[in-house]
Subunit: 468 residues, 2 copies
Amino acid sequence: MSAAEPEACALSSSSLDVEEKCQYYGNSSSDPPTEPHPDMDMFCCHSVQDSLLSSDSRFTNYRGILNWIIILLILTHAHLFLDNFIQHGFLIDLRKVLEHLMEDHYNWPSVNLILAANMFAIAALLLERCLDKGTLSPSAGHCLHLGNLGLLTLFPAVIILYDTSISTGGAYFSLWTYTVLGLKLYSYQETNSWYRQGSVPSSGTDKCVLHETKKHIEHLTIKDLYYFLLAPTLCYQRNFPFTPRVRINVLCKTLIEMVVLTQIIVGVVQQWIEPIFQRSENSFSNMDITTRVEHLMELVAPNHFLWLMFSFLFSHSYLNFCAELLCFGDRHFYGDWWNAKTLKCFWGNWNIPLHKWRYRHLYTPLLKKRVSQKQADLLVFLMSAALCEYVIALPLHSCRLWIFFMMIFELLVDVYLGDYFKGNYGNGLVWLCFLLGPPLAMMTYFHDHYMSHHGQHPPGLSVAECLS
Amino acid sequence: MSAAEPEACALSSSSLDVEEKCQYYGNSSSDPPTEPHPDMDMFCCHSVQDSLLSSDSRFTNYRGILNWIIILLILTHAHLFLDNFIQHGFLIDLRKVLEHLMEDHYNWPSVNLILAANMFAIAALLLERCLDKGTLSPSAGHCLHLGNLGLLTLFPAVIILYDTSISTGGAYFSLWTYTVLGLKLYSYQETNSWYRQGSVPSSGTDKCVLHETKKHIEHLTIKDLYYFLLAPTLCYQRNFPFTPRVRINVLCKTLIEMVVLTQIIVGVVQQWIEPIFQRSENSFSNMDITTRVEHLMELVAPNHFLWLMFSFLFSHSYLNFCAELLCFGDRHFYGDWWNAKTLKCFWGNWNIPLHKWRYRHLYTPLLKKRVSQKQADLLVFLMSAALCEYVIALPLHSCRLWIFFMMIFELLVDVYLGDYFKGNYGNGLVWLCFLLGPPLAMMTYFHDHYMSHHGQHPPGLSVAECLS
């Protein structure tokens, strides 16, 4: 319980009081009390004093309440858990997921799609080499780069929309790969153009700046590009910071975390979320308002746990695994968003690589173009919201803008309620937005996709099959 | 959130870091960052650092998690609450309880029984007067007092066991009145005998001791006795500490608390506990083990909330109301049992008047008779456990010793596990025992009483009727 450490002093002094009291009233097994005189106590056993909970008593030690809340939460969920197993039996079946992944006719289209992504990376490298040798003018190179990135964006979208043989899971995987690749290649071309322009501060002492002129051409290699593409970052730079060696124990730890968490996530989906999906008789877009609220309430808890586990799995375990494997030094993949007191801080700390990219390649360039800070903030936010909607809605073929509007709604909450919710209350508001905001909107997409594939209560159908 | 105050410094410094970071990465609306140089940041945007959640990072600020737990708990229970209303409709009906209380043929026996209790009080006063005048020898007086107390114990027990016209609610009310009266009269006669023996410390400076010889006879009055009998304490003394006046606002506040809490308690019983009772098809003594565990799990949460509310209603609101009305000064009716780190401390702080009585009239006299501390502790505990069983089981006519054995079990838990659960973990153990211990055993008594009166799923029968 490390969060409680600053309270330790206050607590121990109070617990001493309690123990003294216990001893005084004889419930302790240590020596009998000597002060005050026992017979005095016999005659006058009352004194004027307030009840602890009355407002006059100035008593403020409620440390035990925290333990109470934790135990109550665990017990409540243990009960829901038992209830679920009693009601539905044991539904978790990892084989279903594995079998689904093995069926090759579902996954070859997405594997091919991902392999095709190399094309765009190589094109970007070739363009950079031409630009570096001077065989292309900077503006022409920039245009060609943007064309390359445009194709990279359109290509998977078109394939996913028109190739019906691609599975939903495969579509997600390839779209996310392409999105990450697009962000990385944008960073690659822009950073390389900065290097070429030599816009280096004269007082620069960092090695990556000093070596810039000497080792220019050395960096435009396949190896350097692919290291960047595989590294857990979206921002390109030459000479990434390295760790001295691959630590096997860290690799094993993150690998075990990934295996265990994946199984728990599959378990939550199959045992908790799927029965809720199966109980509903309509898609969210066709429900009346009370049924919709009831269903959303049911989905809040499993969806939230899923998100927490997924974010830990991805932001901590997976990215650390990659970083360890590549000796990549910068492991700052997430801030302490759980302590965030404003939604802005939450968004800034949730996904640091994406946030860095936004700051470096969207926000700062906008500022340099004399856009005001607030407008730049808003533009960056709108682009992020649109990107979220795009990467979630496209593979499901259902663009209804709920995630986008949910994020806009959160922005309004932050702007209009942020002043009233400070400190702890601000943190509470952030958690509430996280619980009821975009993640829940996202879940409705999956729910409706599930409903459109398995209408009225199909028994025994799995989400894995639904993803096909 | 007063419990969090000691953490405020650590938190605010950390949140400053976060805000600085947010500003640095451009998500703040204040002035643009000047250090480090923005272009430097553009080129080298990575540095070697650990993830916050990895064990190397030494990051320990998880303050936000507390807010998360609280919100999750509220949402989960809001969902259970909604679910309950959707499933059962609105079952709360205060009129049922009031109508039941108005039906006079149910309640006259208990009213008569309570009025008869005055007899024993008057007898005790008369005995004291005779002892004071010397018309009775101390030993004969003591024997007569014990006889009076014995009758006082047997009388309600016999009436409740053999008078079938008495309602269960009335039986509870009268048995508890008699029990409290018995404890008070025991204290009355013992304290008065101490006063007579003049076993006063020579260095005594307290007014109640100094005035002792002068005002001896003045205290053996009806008024003094009835003040003690109505006052919220079990230990007699002459000259109780008084508050200067009755504060109307405190009276109103406690009265409102009592009215509101009573309604919530009735609501929880009718809306939450009764449907669980109605769902069960057997009494606990006839259930197989899995059904029993399942049913107990269902009852844990409502039973716990009921206990918390009842203990606040009684220990805080009701006793403070009485004390305010009587200008009784000593309002120390409960300690901070929620912070207790051992079960001993919990028992010592749960009900201070009873604990004071045990210490003054059981524990200390036992020590004076050269009983060892541990044995005295054990004896006092066994007597308390037996008293609990007696006052709960007798009105239901079902003495099966579950509460008694549950308390013995807790004693064993305290003795054998107390050494392994220290500090916060000890507090967790205390909460767990409180959640799953005697209160739950008590609930099974009521459950089985309900089952014996309304067998297979009677629709629309109320607990109030069941108490008849």
